[in-house]
Amino acid sequence: MAAMTTGYYETGRTWSARIAEHNAALLAQQEMRRRRIRTPEFFLAKNFDNSRLVKAPDPVRMREMRIFGAALTVLFSLVMVYGLQHFYAIESSYHVEQEKQLRDQLREENRQLHLTQAELTQPGRIDSMARQLGLSTPQPGQVIHADARPDSATPAVAQAIAPAPPAQ
């Protein structure tokens, strides 16, 4: 802190240099305080050699751990499957709703087209368009039905035939 404070107002020295100088000053103060302590302190170093120690095999525990691990794995899988299914079901329900809406939309379009077809095939419209094209109401006997039982429900495709030339 003092170093920081000092460094805040001083320039020309790096941060690490200021830290090192501060640590040296603290160490010198500790040594000064240590000289005033009367109780001698002895520092003993004890080296431990644990290289001879090995972990004893414990097959029972290993088996338990494996079983525990397998159980956790199964549990995790079940949870994941359940979760995946759950969210997949939600996604599927969104998809189903979309398809339902699409189906309804297509059905409605179909009805709209039926309505358009009915409007386009109304007799008054066909009649006026035919007259604009120069067609006229057929004269009596002008239309020949080849079918013995003409079906008025079936659309008819007519073809004009020229009258036969007079007999010579």
């Binding site: 939600i90 329900s93 969104y94 189903v96 709703e97 339902k100 409605e108 009805r111 709209q112 039926h114 309505l115 009915a118 409007e119 095939t121 109304q122 007799p123 008054g124 009649d127 006026s128 007259r131 604009q132 094209l133 120069g134 067609l135 006229s136 109401t137 057929p138 004269q139 009596p140 006997g141 002008q142 239309v143 020949i144 039905h145 080849a146 079918d147 013995a148 039982r149 003409p150 079906d151 008025s152 429900a153 079936t154 659309p155 008819a156 495709v157 007519a158 073809q159 004009a160 035939i161 020229a162 009258p163 036969a164 030339p165 007079p166 007999a167």
Partner: protein, 756 residues
Amino acid sequence: MQPAVRTIRNRIHAPRAVPLKRLRFWLICLFFILWAAAISGRLFWLQIVRHQEFVARAEKQQRRTFEVAPRRGILFDRNGHELAMTVQVDSIYADPTAIDDKQTAAHALAAVVHTDPDDDETTEAQIAARLTSGRSFAWIARRVTPAVSAAVKALNLKGVYFDKEFQRFYPDNEIAAQVLGYVGIDDAGLAGLEQRFDAQLHGAPGRMYAAMDARRKVLGSTEREPQPGRNMVLTIDENIQFLAERALDHAMDRTKADNGTVVVQDVHTGQILALAIRPTFNPNQFRHSAPGLLRDHAVSDVYEPGSTFKLVTYSAALDQHVVTPDDILDCHGSVITVAGRVIHDDKGDHFGRISVHDALAHSSNVGAIEVAMKMGPERFYQYIRAFGFGARSGIELPGETRGLLSPLNRWSGSSIASIAMGQEVAVTPIQLSTMVSTIANGGVYLPPHILMPTQPSATDPNQKGAAPQPAPVRPGEEVPDPLPEGAHRVMATLSSAQMRKMMEGVVLFGTGKEAQLNGYSSAGKTGTAQKIDPATHKYSKTMHVASFAGFAPVNNPMIAVAVVIDNPRGNYYGASVSAPVFAEVAQQVLEYLGVPHDTELHAVRAKDKQNAVHEDEDAGSDNAAYAFSTAANELPSDDPLRAAAQQQAMQQAKVPASAAGSVHASPAQPAATGQAVSATPANAAAQPTTRAVMLPDVKRLRVPSLTGLPMRKVIEQAGAAGFEVQMSGTGLCRQQSPDPGTMVPAGTRIQVRCGR
């Protein structure tokens, strides 16, 4: 000093009851245990104790219940063409709380949606009032056109949304308007069949239970399907209806009458093929229609039939063997006195001794009275009731009246005379046509119907969305055996045959000459009845009802036509006003149905040519367009197809002539040899060169077997075979109609019912 040191020593060296490390361990464990217990307890409290409460709150928040409106049933004509159907259209609503500047929004919206000046709901003031009402929902406009909807979407206004609503459309506009009726804003039928069968057509609403997420998107739903309205098939033929309405339009233009009615009926089934009424309205724009236009004159209005009622008189007399067609009646110079009342024939008639058939042909009132008096009131009244007068026919139209017929015990001394010539009795046009049908079909009264008899579908009796199988009118049908409910024999077959001949005489020699057809025999009776003046309560000399009731052809009747024109201006006689309408309608309808000609075709009369030219001019064909189309239809002289067409014409003309028993031989030969109608060179510019128009044999295909196939295969195979498919259900095909192996025209719709 020493006690303190001792205490310190004791404290250092005395063993602890609980080691410090274990105590700390259990303290921390206890802390975690208490924490876990608190969490578990809270979980238990929330998920077990308060489970139902939260489930209810979640359902309330996530689940929505929508009422699904049913779709109104479709009205089809007998050929399966839609006459009335319901589709979804956009309706515009707003959330006023989301709109900042309501006045500006109202102004912008009104500029787009206010397309009808008579619509008060879509004015700017009304929209602004709804937006500032303080509610969170406000209609802007309901059931708008796609163009308006697109324009509002283009405005991209905040707080304005769209919803789908059903709207009823009548694609043929004014055709059969009074028969169909119309539907109001709340999908309720308000006239015609829409009103009469509103419950069946409306259906039942369904419910949709939807789960919605936080963004109000539906993530799952279950539906109780709405029950759509029942589809109905009318006996009306759209094309025959158009022909009848067009002929009636011509008559209304000529006569400037108050109203007119034309009824076309199938004599062998009693089904109404056309019911034309003028003036009329457009059901798509019923708001602009006067209430008087909604009246169905064919069943709701009665009128004195006049001379057309003599058909009942003579039919009854013939069936009772009171007279025969060749018996002589003494008409006393066209004057008769009955119960002190002097009755004359029409001015200018002075009949002495004439035959019964001449009396009918020339519409002698005195002759009809003589015949009725020979019969007596009791028997006459029985026949009147047997023909269906004085009672409702039961036709499926609302507002039917039974007409006016005094009971026998209230007849005065002159009632028999009045009723014999069509006075003192009031009938509806439907009753009149049904009477004529009775005579035409051999004497059997068949109740008139406007709806086809319900037939259980071969696939699904409850199938609502399927288009019906067409039931076109076919020539050569007979009266059904056994007779349907309500039918009964009125007169003997021989009597009806005699009556048909007499009615033919009316058209050939009598007052009904204007009802003669070209290539077909026809029969009928004219009628001209004075109307009661509401001011004086007496017969008016200026207001009349002109009518004609007849059928064609004579020997094998197909259709009966009744024409009633109310208060024509100028010439008011039925012979001049109504008979031509019958001729126009019957001629075109018989040609349309392909009924074989039973008389020789003659050249089109000059008046017919003028009418045809006038019709074409009225249709707006100018010379340039006509010349272009004529040139387009004419093959060049050196075109090889022209020679091939001529050869084909000659071959085709020989084929029907060589067919054994074919009734097309006679019309085919005149067309082939050029004896049929042909335009003169002088009229070539105004009338196209007439050539025979060949309708080739309808291509027929064999219906494939689809049973047991999955839906996809059904569609593929039917499409490859040239058929349409109407599916119901899911899974494999279980039933189909028509049956496999049936020969049907190409493009026929096969109805398939699937099941798992």
